[in-house]
Symmetry: C2
Subunit: 417 residues, 2 copies
């Protein structure tokens, strides 16, 4: 079964906005065994919408459209689809009643324009919307299915879950999509690609998507199959081989973020952590605490931008700052051991560097970051030069610090000072 | 002139990836006076691509396609377009030479498959690619223009800037797009919409896009016009009226982030800031320091998750924590004045709250956040309950704190304690 997604709304044709509903819809459809073959964005123009739906009903088995079901003159999806499928639009009393009810519940009377949302193409099934006024609509036409959903994500998702999914599941598709979500850090995308590429030929029925971000590279191997057991076994095998090829750089085989992995590792080791940051300005603490339950392992941190605060908050000797500079191995090490001593944490992390855009010198260029980790026995430090702009340098630096913490616990022989 | 954008690549039909090139292309095209009417995503299938291009040449004046120009078997854009426009594909010796040169520069010889990238549909103009191997292509056909660009954003953008833009500019479009970028905080999207809606009728030739995010609401009024002076004057007038309708909640009329506005306001007042955060875990410091030059006003901060550190780092009296609880007005005020005293900053900000998902009680539910600001004369505090999940509550809390700082300086009669 081939699906086409149509996102409707002139705002989606501006430089400011992307149709993100299609990601949710693709995920759901794939899990039901339905491939998405085309995605379209079209504005509020009735002509353009007619063209779009006219083409879609010729080439796709299932069309899922979002948006254009509101109460205003710009909301023309119902009209366009009625015309393309040669159906009359009729007022549906039951839908009208429900919309009025909804307004009554909020102690308001229904504005006249909302009656438009009760207009339904002949023969359409109504998909109730518990989160808003516009119901979804399900139409069948010459063996094609057309599903119309509101564009508001929470409404679209709730109607899809409760109304569309069960209907589509009943159609009994023979294939389903099986997938994995691997996360890698510390390698460039091209290196990851090169390491796993030999597997593409070994498993020609698997497609693999690679997606790079400063917070890690994602690998998604995918198989369409009729046979659950066989597909899962094959994916397990592929993941095992990928793990072998990626080594310590692979930090999750099931879509965890690096901070979630670090959280798990800290808790498994009954360890606590505290951080002292300069150039990352609080981002390391922010990432450590964006995991629910982080108070179990995160004690606290300081953001010491000025030299005085490095000394006042974590006892970095002023003499070291003076002789080695605020961006130096020695200061990173002093930050890590200082915050550890001040908080009583199992490990302390220190970061100092030059995030830019200014402040670089030939010896200490923009992007240079020192990261240190301290425990009760001592400390160790890395200096890395990251590429990119300020935001990217800060992200890479926190990513690298989190990965040092992960490796410290998982590969102690290498990771400990 | 009507444009259609086609993004090519099977990875863009997965749940993991959106076509973001179209935002750049739309922005550039709009500035050249070209409206984008359709956007499409299609996979690597030759059949599907043929359908897509076949339809596009019937309905758009300009087609800009991205992707599918690589060297592998999956890269079929050249084939599809050659077929649809009934052109032969021919090896272009000059392109081949350039590709070989590029490999030579990196001391490698060209793999045989890359010769594919030198195949060019008859009559196409070559758009040199200084960032990669695949050149862009420009074709004209029955009054329609087809532009093919590589999918790698940096290559696409550089070819567009140097090759496509000047060619399109020469076509002398009569209309251009004029736009503004207003930023609002502290009001829900529906309230912003309601306040500016009366202007839509006053200015029927203006389209306005509204875009909501936890970091502020964006309003983009847009006018297509032949007359620069008239359009700019009209936009100035609209912005003035919107400013009146939005009052203090409008924080920028030209697309600044809230942290940039706060940075400017702090520097204009020769003021410095320091922060003590609990539930936001470093996010407030991170946002204050993601502006270049933040060391001019940001002294430092502490993230004191545990009660002990609230006392150790910023002198919050243990007795207050015990009697009022860590999440209380009193602790927020003590955090703000404590960090101010410890750092010598002009103002101190304190945040304490419950980001969830657990830890809420009937009296202190998840989402409750206390934010305090202290200066040399005293301090003031707000308690707000934010909706949403952990991430959203933390974002809203930092947004609210930044806005308190902005108001403190801009509206001192209201904002100061």
């Amino acid at each position: 079964m081939k699906a086409e997604i149509i996102a409707i709304g002139s705002e989606l044709l501006t430089p400011y906005r992307l149709d993100t509903n299609s990601l949710f819809l693709t995920d759901e459809l794939n899990q039901l065994g339905i491939r998405v073959v085309y995605k379209n964005v079209v504005g509020d123009s009735l002509d353009d919408m007619r063209t779009c739906f006219g083409i879609a009903v010729l080439r796709a088995d299932l069309i899922v459209a979002s948006g254009g079901l509101g109460p205003t003159d710009d909301d023309r999806t119902r009209d366009a689809v009625a015309e393309v499928l040669s159906r009359k639009l009729q007022l549906n009393e039951e839908v009208l009643h429900k919309i009025k009810e909804r307004f009554r519940r909020y102690n308001r009377s229904m504005p006249e324009i909302n009656a438009r949302q009760a207009m339904v193409p002949q023969g359409a099934a109504i998909l109730p919307n518990s989160r808003g006024t516009a119901p979804g609509l399900w139409l069948e036409h010459d063996g094609h299915i057309v599903v119309l959903l509101p564009g508001v994500p929470i409404e679209l998702q709730s109607i899809f879950e409760t109304e569309v999914k069960p209907r589509l599941a009943r159609l009994n598709h023979d294939e389903r999509l099986f997938t994995r979500d691997l996360r890698i850090t510390g390698l460039p995308e091209s290196e990851v690609e090169q390491r796993v590429r030999p597997l593409y030929e070994l498993y020609p029925d698997t497609e693999t998507t690679i997606l790079a971000a400063p917070t890690g590279i994602q690998l998604h191997p995918r198989i369409w199959s009729r046979d659950t057991a066989k597909a899962e076994k094959l994916l397990d095998e592929i993941v095992d081989r990928m793990a072998l090829a990626l080594g310590e750089n692979l930090f999750s085989t099931h879509g965890e973020t690096l901070e979630e992995v670090v959280a798990r590792v800290l808790m498994e080791n009954h360890a606590t952590i505290a951080v002292a940051e300069s150039c990352t300005g609080g981002m390391l603490a922010e990432r450590l605490t964006n995991v629910a339950g982080s108070s179990n392992y995160f004690l606290g941190g300081v953001v010491c931008y000025s030299n005085e605060l490095k000394t006042a908050f974590v006892d970095v000797p002023a003499a070291i700052i003076e002789s080695k500079g605020a961006v130096s191995s020695e200061v990173a090490l002093a930050l890590a051991s200082g915050i550890r001593r001040r908080t009583g944490a199992t490990i302390g992390v220190g970061i100092t560097g030059i995030a830019g855009p200014t402040g670089g010198t030939p010896e200490k260029p923009v992007g240079l970051v020192h990261i240190a980790i301290a425990d009760e026995r001592g400390s160790r430090e890395h200096a890395i030069r990251f590429p990119g702009d300020r935001e990217r340098i800060r992200l890479y630096a926190t990513q690298s610090a989190l990965d040092m913490v992960r490796r410290y616990f998982l590969y102690p022989a290498v990771g400990r000072g």
